[in-house]
């Protein structure tokens, strides 16, 4: 450390965008296309699906056959990082739990996400007006709808028009047809009055009009590995790489871990400081506008760590609410096998890597007298999928009672020719379902700076404090009951996922669904919110947030499409007001 110094760039950028995921990618793309001089800082390495994806690899190309030894979703999954990153810890208050998935790489978590793309509906923006719980957004569906439309056209999404008020239709490419297990699921769900819609996903089931950089999906089902032909939406392939390709005024620096937002004597943002992970040197860059899009929790961390005489509690944190109202989706799941799908005829049913079908929330809570607010949607999986590590595990739990061709059963487990045949018989018979629901945003669930712990870069880390309430637990109970009903109607055997009150009905640990949002929520009242309705800091007019932080209250929808729409809206606002920032 003998030569320790801070390197200051003389360039003053119009905007610095921190983070290259859905929000940062969209903000950078819009600002660069509008002619602004943009610098994007990404904490992880460069990553282009065209050259870095593991798409079409076979399990035997790896000595671990795709096992998740270093990546939680398997070694061919695109996401670097995971629940724990060496040298970058986070802590918890007391016995509370929160699992934080970070992926530091170009495109962030959009490289491996499920591509399930659901708009928030009118009631999702104004839930409090309906049931008195949580908080309404300062904007409505009508304010965001034009941006959802533009995101649909720009990035591509498949789906079907269904005309449900709180499940707004978009501008859709054709949805993929159902696979065999999905026919069975739809039929069984109908019997218990659960609707099943064609899926809605950010995959190009047809070539996107006017875009020659991306090709249509070729149905390998591996979106989570990243797509070499850009047939699905990743921020890397669809926003950052094109922004760089077509705009000389767009600059990207990878491996740049932002420490804090810099301010002047009046408290306005002047740029950011970061550590370059490659040379371990400290840098400062200047910008007229700072857009934070590092992910809901990382953005909160940067803001809370940006302390100065003007911002004693962190930049833009006069309300004391930065990090508060952290909320993740609820989740519970269950699965088994369907005897009708045993001994099936083989064909290629890979399909697309997002959902072919889903169930929107279908109940009016008040009319049905439910004991929890809001709801959940259901995602389904199954079919003849490519084997990887874990294939065949637990056969001894299921192969006993299943009769062979002569109607005979045998002792569970076993070995030899008949066991070998059992694996073939069960292939493609497994299916399952998962609920993804609304967790209520509460001030008491938050992340904050742990004053006693720093990461390996010397940056104070986050401490989480999160507890589910009965709202979420009872929702998981309802999921359990619904999933079991669907499975029973189908005639499927449930082999995993049955829970009771001792395990909160299978409700996942907070953070596990990786939909965490709300840490810098927007609002009209500066005392009750961090940002205004344009995702602009109430106190620092040239500071914006473009990730999941501004989301006041999630619906039972995956948050990515809303992050994209809000980031586009915010970026267009910056362009419109650029004189205000002397751009």
């Amino acid at each position: 450390m003998g030569n320790f110094q801070i390197k200051k760039s003389p360039t003053v950028y119009d905007a610095v965008v921190v983070g290259s995921g859905a929000g940062g990618g969209m903000a950078g793309y819009v600002l660069a296309n509008a002619g602004l001089k943009v610098l994007m800082l990404e904490a992880g390495p460069y990553w282009d699906p065209k050259t870095h994806s593991h798409q079409l690899r076979w399990p035997w190309e790896s000595p671990r056959r795709g096992a998740g030894s270093t990546r939680p979703f398997g070694e061919f999954d695109a996401a670097y990082g995971g629940w724990d990153i060496e040298g970058q810890p986070y802590t918890h208050e007391g016995d509370t739990e929160f699992d934080w998935f970070r992926s530091q790489m170009l495109g962030g978590r959009t490289n491996h996400w499920g591509r399930i793309s659901l708009r928030f509906g009118p009631r999702d923006f104004k839930g409090k007006s309906y049931d008195g719980i949580g908080e309404d957004w300062p904007i409505s569906y009508e304010d965001v709808a034009p941006y959802y439309d533009k995101v649909d056209r720009l990035l591509g999404i498949y789906g079907s028009k269904e005309g449900w008020e709180n499940e707004p239709d978009g501008i859709f490419l054709p949805p993929p047809k159902m696979r065999l297990h999905e026919h069975y699921i739809k039929k069984a769900a109908a019997k218990v009055k659960v609707p099943v819609f064609p899926g809605r996903g950010a995959v190009l089931t047809e070539k996107l009009p006017g875009n020659d950089d991306r090709q249509a999906c070729f149905n390998c089902n591996q979106c989570a590995r990243g797509c070499r032909v850009y047939g699905d939406f990743s921020s890397s392939s669809c926003l950052v790489i094109p922004a760089k390709k077509y705009n000389e005024n767009f600059e990207l620096i990878c491996n740049a871990m932002v420490r804090e937002v810099l301010t002047d004597s009046e408290g306005l943002a002047t740029g950011v400081s970061y550590i370059n992970k490659e040379d371990m040197q400290e840098y400062q860059v200047k910008a007229k506008v700072v857009v934070l899009a590092a992910s809901a929790c990382s953005t909160a961390r940067i803001m809370l760590n940006s302390r100065s005489a003007q911002h004693e509690n962190g930049i833009g944190n006069g309300s004391g609410l930065v990090g508060k109202y952290l909320h993740d989706s609820t989740g519970a799941s269950l699965g088994g096998y369907l005897p009708e799908l045993m001994d099936r005829k083989r064909f290629n049913e890979d399909g697309v890597g997002s959902v072919h079908i889903y169930s929107p929330w279908w109940i009016d809570n008040k009319k049905e007298g439910l004991d929890f607010p809001r709801g959940y949607h259901i995602e389904y999986w199954g079919g003849m999928q490519m084997p990887s590590y874990g294939f065949g595990f637990g056969i001894a739990n299921i192969n006993g009672p299943v009769p062979d061709g002569s109607g005979n059963t045998k002792a569970a487990g076993g070995y030899g020719p008949s066991l070998k045949n059992d694996y073939r018989r069960f292939f493609g018979s497994f299916l399952g379902m998962a609920g993804r629901g609304t967790g209520i945003a509460r001030e008491s669930n938050f992340c904050e700076i742990d004053p006693n712990v720093v990461d390996k870069f010397g940056i104070p880390v986050l401490r989480f404090n999160y507890k589910w309430s009965d709202h979420e637990i009872l929702q998981a109970k309802h999921m359990q009951e619904t999933f079991q009903e669907i499975m029973h109607q189908m005639g499927a055997e449930i082999t995993w996922g049955i829970h009771d009150e001792t395990t909160n009905w299978g409700l996942e640990t907070p953070g596990r669904i990786i939909h965490e949002v709300g840490t810098t929520r927007m609002g009209d009242d500066p005392k009750k919110s961090v940002l205004n309705k344009w995702c602009q800091s109430h106190e620092v007019q040239n500071l914006f947030v473009a990730d999941g932080g501004p989301i006041v209250q999630q619906g039972d929808k995956n948050c990515t499409w809303t992050i994209l729409a809000l980031a586009m809206r915010t970026a267009e606002y910056i362009v419109e007001k650029k004189k205000l920032f002397e751009i």
């Binding site: 399990p59 035997w60 993929p176 047809k177 026919h183 006993g400 569970a412 487990g413």
Partner: protein
């Protein structure tokens, strides 16, 4: 040991996709280490590449253990008219790697193998691998059926071990090229999904939608 055979097999398997990789990824560099196993570099973090090299260079099981694993694997998945046996598909080498990769397997596998040998010493005065085929099956019969009503007192540790090696053998076999072909999985290639073939749909009582 079929280690060399397994590695040759891996090499052959990789050729089928080599053209695709070369056409799409000019900057992919795959280095050959340790008897020809490819350590994938593109799209992986440096620590992952380094970790693979280290694991491939290490040895966990000794020769006696590997010989025992090979015999057990072929009892679990023998050759039949459709495909070869577990060792034909390289399962022992997979098991050797995966226990290094996932340390949680190490003690149960090592201890389970030892438990098996001690049982066979008591019964047949020989370790498992030196027993006759009939003696091996007699032993396996006592640990291959995990339902509580099927377990003889004292056999529980063997049952737990056999569950584990059954799982690892099946996963190793059905994730090999031979095993994937045996299963009839025919995806993982560019194609056009147009729904379930009509005859199959009708057989299951559904109409196209």
């Amino acid at each position: 040991m079929n280690r060399r055979k397994y590695l040759q097999f891996i090499g052959v398997g990789s050729i089928s996709t080599a053209a695709f990789w070369q056409s799409c990824s000019p900057d992919v560099q795959e280095e050959t280490v340790e008897e020809g196993f490819e350590v994938i570099e593109a799209g992986r973090e440096p620590f992952e590449i380094e970790r693979d090299r280290e694991l491939l260079a290490e040895t966990f099981f000794d020769e006696h253990e590997m010989a025992t694993i090979a015999i057990l694997a072929d009892i679990i998945i023998p050759a039949d008219e459709t495909s070869g046996s577990a060792t034909d598909a390289g399962v022992p080498a997979f098991i050797e790697f995966i226990v290094k990769d996932m340390e949680g397997h190490q003690t149960p596998m090592r201890g389970g193998l030892r438990w098996l040998d001690v049982q066979c010493m008591k019964r047949f005065e020989k370790p498992f691998k030196d027993c006759s085929p009939a003696q091996r099956i007699e032993m396996v019969e006592d640990i291959a059926y995990p339902s509580p009503e099927d377990i003889k007192p004292g056999m529980e540790p063997g049952v737990a071990f056999f569950n584990r090696i059954r799982n690892l053998t099946a996963t190793g076999f059905f994730t090999s090229e031979m095993g994937v072909k045996d299963l009839g999985y025919i995806g993982n290639q560019p194609n056009k999904w147009n729904g379930v073939p009509k005859d199959i749909l009708e057989k299951h009582g559904f109409k196209d939608s």
